[in-house]
């Protein structure tokens, strides 16, 4: 834990973004989520979640914002969380307290899927 925080303190946003892009370095990405104070945003745009896969530390609150002209929902595959319908610019937040992988989708447009990995 301490090692991760130290690395992040140096160049958190750049490293986090780069590592998320290449899809490797999950530890570092996790530490980024943790160090960014426990608040991470996911944008819903063009019928997709961005980023589609998000890795965060336990205790992180993820906030989804709908940027589409069409309403969407955020519903976890295992019913761990479930938003009400989000019209344009409406938000939904959920705090991930337990580690695990949480797949989710839009229950209106189920082709829209995403994942939150909590470490």
């Amino acid at each position: 834990m301490r090692r991760r925080v130290w690395i992040v303190a140096l160049a958190a946003p750049v490293i986090a973004a780069a590592l998320l892009l290449v899809g490797g370095g999950r530890d570092f990405a996790a530490s980024a989520g943790q160090a960014q104070a426990s608040n991470v945003d996911v944008k819903i745009d063009n019928f997709s979640f961005g980023p589609a896969t998000l890795t965060v530390a336990a205790g992180t609150t993820v906030t989804w914002t709908n940027r589409d002209d069409i309403p969407h929902t955020v519903v976890s595959d295992d019913k761990v969380f479930k938003s009400k319908v989000l019209d344009t610019d409406e938000k939904f937040s959920f705090t991930f307290t337990k580690p695990g992988t949480f797949g989710y989708f839009c229950s209106i447009h189920p082709k829209m899927t995403g994942k939150v990995v909590v470490e």
């Binding site: 589409d68 797949g103 989710y104």
Partner: protein, 322 residues
């Protein structure tokens, strides 16, 4: 009959035949009116502008005609159409102006945009002006937040399960199906085992010569799975309908008209009365398509369906609101 009409085309999805003006070419397939007559499994289209050439043809004077409307999305107020109540009223005017008045209306879902009671109220109020009975099936926008309880309370009295039902009109068997409930991550529309079982039972005792019209919100044929435009278990449903000589499937959801013939089954999707959506794969997402205001009504529309006894043919006429 067909040889009277010079601009007869086969519906081959190549957009030819109804593109009367260059700039409308890309829009033509999406909403410009066409009369479609199915005979012997082949669907023929005629430009609406030549409809008068058909005169008192069988298609124009069938024994049963009804209108399909779809995707009113009452409550939607974004730039693609800031006045969806207005365009629905235009659709109603169009229906009231049909030379052969329809017996009833089918609404293939997305009545509302956000399942709000006032949205349903507005649609009910506007459709009242037709004076016709309306049969509904829900779209995914009609069952938000409450698993469709409100929809069933309003429109599904006497229906089974999530709101499926069947009825007879002049010897034609109509089946309203629900494929917008319990959608699974990554999946398409779903009918579910309970509804499929009901369907099998519902058609079991019908004569093979009975014309069947199935209506549901999401297409029961795979239009474009990447955008979820299809139904997971529709093949099973269609298997139960194989024995029938004439099956017509009417859907909405994709906000554009499309037709396909597969054996004894003709598939048809109706235009929206609210806003158009892009052609499959021709945009990053299936979101509302913004067209210049003066073109909007040309890509919205209604569908007039005419059944002629003895011909096993349903004439499907798409009219734009322009």
């Amino acid at each position: 009959m067909a040889n009277k009409v010079k601009d007869e085309i086969l519906h081959d999805h190549n957009h030819d035949g109804i593109d009367r003006r260059g700039f409308l070419k890309c829009m033509a397939w999406a909403g410009t009116g066409a009369l479609c007559v199915m005979q012997g499994g082949v669907l023929k289209s005629y430009s609406l502008s030549r409809l008068s050439d058909l005169g008192g043809s069988a298609a124009a004077a069938g024994e049963l005609s009804f209108v399909q409307i779809s995707d009113s999305h009452m409550g939607f107020n974004k730039p693609a159409n800031p006045d969806v109540a207005g365009t629905l009223k235009v659709a109603v005017d169009k229906i009231n102006g049909l030379s052969a008045p329809p017996e009833f209306l089918l609404h293939t879902g997305d009545i509302s945009h956000l399942s709000k009671p006032e949205e349903f109220d507005t649609v009910d109020q506007i459709l009242k002006a037709t004076g016709k009975e309306v049969f509904f099936v829900p779209g995914e926008h009609d069952v938000l937040n409450d698993d469709g309880a409100q929809f069933r309370e309003r429109y599904g009295k006497g229906a089974k399960g999530a709101g499926w039902y069947s009825f007879e009109k002049r010897g034609v068997h109509f089946i309203g199906l629900v494929n917008v409930m319990n959608l699974k991550a990554g999946g398409l529309g779903t009918l579910g085992p309970e509804q499929l079982e009901w369907l099998e039972d519902d058609v079991k005792h019908l004569k093979h010569s009975t014309p069947i019209v199935v209506f549901a919100h999401i297409p029961l044929w795979t239009v474009y799975p990447d955008w979820g435009w299809g139904t997971e278990d529709s093949a099973q449903a269609l298997a139960y309908l194989k024995k029938f000589g004439s099956v017509t499937v009417l859907n909405g959801h994709i906000h554009q008209t499309m037709q396909k013939v597969e054996g004894n089954v003709t598939f048809h999707t109706a235009a929206s009365t609210a806003f158009p959506q892009p052609e499959p794969g021709k945009a990053p997402s299936p979101g509302p398509m913004k067209v210049p205001a003066e073109q909007l009504r040309s890509v919205l529309g209604i569908t007039d369906v005419n059944y002629v006894r003895g011909q096993h043919a349903l004439a499907v006429v798409d009219s734009s609101l322009a």
